[in-house]
Symmetry: C2
Subunit: 72 residues, 2 copies
């Protein structure tokens, strides 16, 4: 069952790619349902009208990701 939710993109950190239809894979800071913001890797349609698949990361998860990338 679909549930109502709200989101607000607080910061657009980076656009990782864009496909021919204009959908972009983005790294953003997003607040879901008014909660504290999380890092969010996700596909978005132009103007952020529709969202696609993605994953959210807490501050701790993002720090672990950063550490992993730095050590590669």
């Amino acid at each position: 069952m679909a549930e109502a939710f709200s989101f607000e993109i607080l910061e657009e950190i980076a656009v990782l790619s864009e496909n021919p239809k204009g959908w972009r894979k983005e790294l953003n800071l997003v607040s879901w349902n008014g909660r504290p913001p999380k890092f969010d890797l996700r596909d978005w349609s132009p103007e952020h009208e529709k969202m696609g698949k993605g994953i959210t990361l807490s501050n701790e998860e993002f720090a672990a990701l950063k550490q992993a990338i730095l050590s590669m």
Copy 2:
């Protein structure tokens, strides 16, 4: 409709977090359906028996993510 697919985790790069049920958020190199591997951020059950939500990144997208993180 569900489609059959195969996957192989070629390299476990990092575990970003683990929840009380043992599911982990991981950064891996994964080959889907025998194709060249992609970077994959995803939730996994213990022993990788079940996969949860996640996102795959091409080499170019991963390089863009790395650049964004380095410049933060």
